[in-house]
């Protein structure tokens, strides 16, 4: 095994182009588990932690450009107001020690269907910024996940950043697990209200081969919600939203849960999360600015 230690982003891209089989490593919370437990042995590790610009995030218009090296701990501390859904999901990742190391980009690179970042990224329409020596490619999040632990990155590409719209309405994340820490999701759900476009975003995790949007549920709720009157959420709308979210899943039975349980739990989580988000929207006098 080789250990590649680029000192700049340009050098990292060169190394990846020359060694496309190299596995990028950031926080190590997935990569090192594979190696420690001998589940896989990369031909080379490409350490991205020395590259300072990856550790930065910036505001670009109404989008947060989240560098690939920004840890969950920093996202929680610094971006809770801009990215409330993703920050909520980040708080449920592992433990403090894991959140001090793990990154959203690492979650995307691993592309586990159970990764906690994915549902909120789907719900708010994030874009993955992939880069190689050939140039930069912007991959809409809905096209990023291509299979179980597979993503749309080309062999010579690295994730430079994730571009996430700053919230324009309430966002919530919900996750089922056996305890409140150190849990891989049995299933998970995120909702994001875009009060300007009057759209509802819905992302599901750990209930299909890939994280996925619940498009039919999104369209239904976007049209059925009382955006002008801001009346209470119609229980029938909430229930139907939950049913459509559950219908968009394709879960399996595995060690963490049964498919039938996942389908049921998704419907419940979606119904409740929409209710929490809608209550926040109604309580917001400012006409739907970010919470």
């Amino acid at each position: 095994m080789d250990f590649l230690r680029p000192r700049s982003w340009a050098e990292a891209l060169e190394l990846k182009a020359g060694r496309p089989e190299a596995t990028p490593i950031q926080g190590g919370t997935d990569v090192m588990v594979e190696i420690n437990l001998d589940k896989g042995r990369p031909a080379a590790l490409l350490d991205l932690t020395p590259i300072p610009e990856l550790r930065e995030w910036s505001r670009e218009g109404e989008v947060i450009r989240l560098g690939a090296g920004v840890t969950y701990a920093r996202l929680i501390a610094e971006l809770g107001a801009d990215l409330p859904g993703l920050a909520q999901a980040s708080r449920t990742v592992g433990s403090p020690q894991i959140r001090n190391r793990g990154t959203v980009a690492g979650n995307l690179g691993a592309a586990s269907p159970a990764g906690d970042s994915h549902p909120p990224l789907l719900a708010c329409g994030a874009v993955v910024e992939a880069e190689s020596v050939r140039g930069t490619r912007l991959i809409p999040i809905g096209e990023f996940y291509t299979g179980v632990k597979r993503n749309a990155l080309a062999p010579d590409e690295l994730i430079r950043a994730v571009r996430i719209p700053s919230a324009t309405g309430p966002q919530y994340f919900s996750k089922i697990g056996t305890r409140n820490a150190m849990v891989i999701a049995v299933c998970s759900f995120a909702v994001a209200l875009d009060s300007r476009e009057r759209r509802v975003g819905a992302g599901i995790g750990s209930a299909a081969p890939t994280p996925r949007r619940a498009a039919e549920a999104e369209d239904f709720a976007s049209g059925a919600l009382d955006w002008d009157g801001r009346g209470p959420l119609d229980p029938g709308v909430a229930r139907r939203f939950g049913e459509l979210v559950a219908a968009s899943a394709a879960p399996i039975d595995d060690v963490r849960g049964r498919a039938a349980y996942r389908t049921h739990a998704l419907a419940v989580m979606a119904r409740r999360a929409l209710g929490w988000a809608w209550d926040d929207f109604r309580a917001d006098d400012r006409g739907g600015s970010a919470r």
């Binding site: 250990f3 090192m32 588990v33 190696i35 042995r41 590790l45």
Partner: protein
């Protein structure tokens, strides 16, 4: 490969490090610092918690090469004299004359140690909590801070007592953990 890392204030070098090796393995097997414990090797148990550039992390999930040029503090380095100025002088044996850091002292006094395997990780993690907290943290904060450290003996009550005790003593004396 060679890895240069400052551990408990002392520059150290490990040779013939395998590229897939963890920082934990380097500390325990190459640098003679067995304080951080090797249990789950997947970041689940927290017994290998060390400071990396001032932030508590699971040493089992840090690739050895990622520690190059960085600063690590292990449980051996917490006590006064546990660093390079200590009697042992090599950062290996903890504090001089059995000196303990106040978190370590509180674990002893509260009876928070049974088999002791999880203790080093809990102490480093509690140390980090108290370093950033004012006064005695609420129980919810202590529980959250220690959520990634598993103990199979104590049922955690004595551990929570120890953290409260250390925090209360620190608040009394006005010192920082």
């Amino acid at each position: 490969m060679r890895v240069n890392v400052t551990v408990n204030g002392r520059p150290m070098t490990a040779d013939d490090v395998w590229e897939g090796e963890s920082l934990l393995y380097v500390l325990r097997e190459r640098l003679g610092l067995p304080g951080a414990k090797n249990a789950c090797e997947q970041g689940e148990c927290g017994s290998c918690t060390v400071y990396l550039d001032g932030t508590p992390v699971c040493a089992c999930l840090v690739a050895a090469g990622q520690a190059e040029g960085r600063e690590v503090v292990t449980v051996e380095g917490l006590a006064p004299g546990g660093g390079p100025g200590g009697e042992a002088g090599d950062g290996r044996r903890g504090g001089r004359d059995g000196a303990l850091d106040e978190v370590q002292r509180a674990f002893v006094d509260a009876g928070a140690v049974q088999c002791g395997f999880c203790t080093p990780g809990l102490i480093v993690q509690a140390h980090a909590l108290l370093a950033s907290a004012d006064g005695v943290p609420p129980d919810a904060d202590i529980r959250e801070a220690l959520a990634g450290n598993l103990c199979r003996c104590t049922g955690y009550e004595k551990i929570l007592d120890a953290v409260r005790l250390a925090a209360a003593r620190r608040a009394e004396t006005g010192s920082r953990a």
